[in-house]
Amino acid sequence: MAENFISRGFVSKRRVDDAAHKERIPPGQYETRDFPVLSAGPTPQTQLDRWTFSINGEIAEGLKLTWNEFLQLPSESITVDIHCVTKWTKLDTKWKGVAVETLLEKIDLEGNAEIKHLIAYAKGGYTTNIPLTDVLNKNAWVVYEYDGKPLTPEHGGPARLLVPHLYFWKSAKWIESFKLVKEDRPGFWESAGYHNYGDPWKEQRYAGD
């Protein structure tokens, strides 16, 4: 419409204006205290005795863990800010899980210098791609607790990927496996026009940003 119409008295309810945290809100984002649920498909109800997590791809030997084996791995408790490309930012979210670095230590990556990408696969066919150096040198986890409680299915439980330095679609819910590959493969949203890397501080929302 040509004219700039404003709905008198309408303001977004989700926004919180807290000047104290301004420097923690990336450009174009606003703070929310809710935890919105964004799903691209049905929420799976996974029985823990059937849950597995595996690492495969262009590597000599992969890895497959059961739920109990996964819980035996050294875990970390972390508090991070998360940024969704739909513009909400949630501060100080508390998680517990296993660092991706810890998982990858179990894989022999020696002599596999050409492997540069991690493709995360989740239940329901969801995929997302992350440079391997990001999960090795920065911070990424497979988390199974949120705010001191088991991660609920609508937020990705039993376990999800958490890559807080990238937009939150990279933090795949209902994680099933990592594929380690030489060539990059854009995932579910990356192939639909979203940015291949997704750094919220550079506002890399869409392809070409």
């Binding site: 964004l38 799903s39 049905p42 929420t43 739909t86 679609w169 639909a192 979203y194």
Partner: protein, 91 residues
């Protein structure tokens, strides 16, 4: 909240499809490339939020349509369907 609460009918995406297509699309017939089910768009399961809309087969959950609108450009991934039949008379 359980998963059921997030699922809507394809009917609810009629407005978005109406931006893209000339014809009434909620009554268009789709064929699922996964299981072969033939259903109208209105009968597909819709998952929609700020990133885009995904229409899935009610029987096998295959994603039939993925729609994003980014900077005035609609992108449709229809790789999950093997057929789409649109009635040119229905408005």
């Amino acid at each position: 909240m359980n998963d059921n609460d997030l699922r809507l009918d394809g009917n609810a995406v009629g407005g978005l499809l109406g931006e893209i297509f000339q014809f009434e699309m909620t009554t268009a017939q789709t064929t699922c490339a996964g299981c072969g089910a033939i259903k109208t768009v209105a009968e597909l399961m819709l998952y929609r939020h700020g990133m885009g809309a995904i229409l899935r087969c009610a029987f096998c959950d295959q994603a039939l349509m993925r729609i994003t609108c980014i900077r005035g450009c609609y992108r449709l991934d229809l790789s999950g369907m093997s057929g789409l039949q649109v009635d040119a008379d229905v408005h």
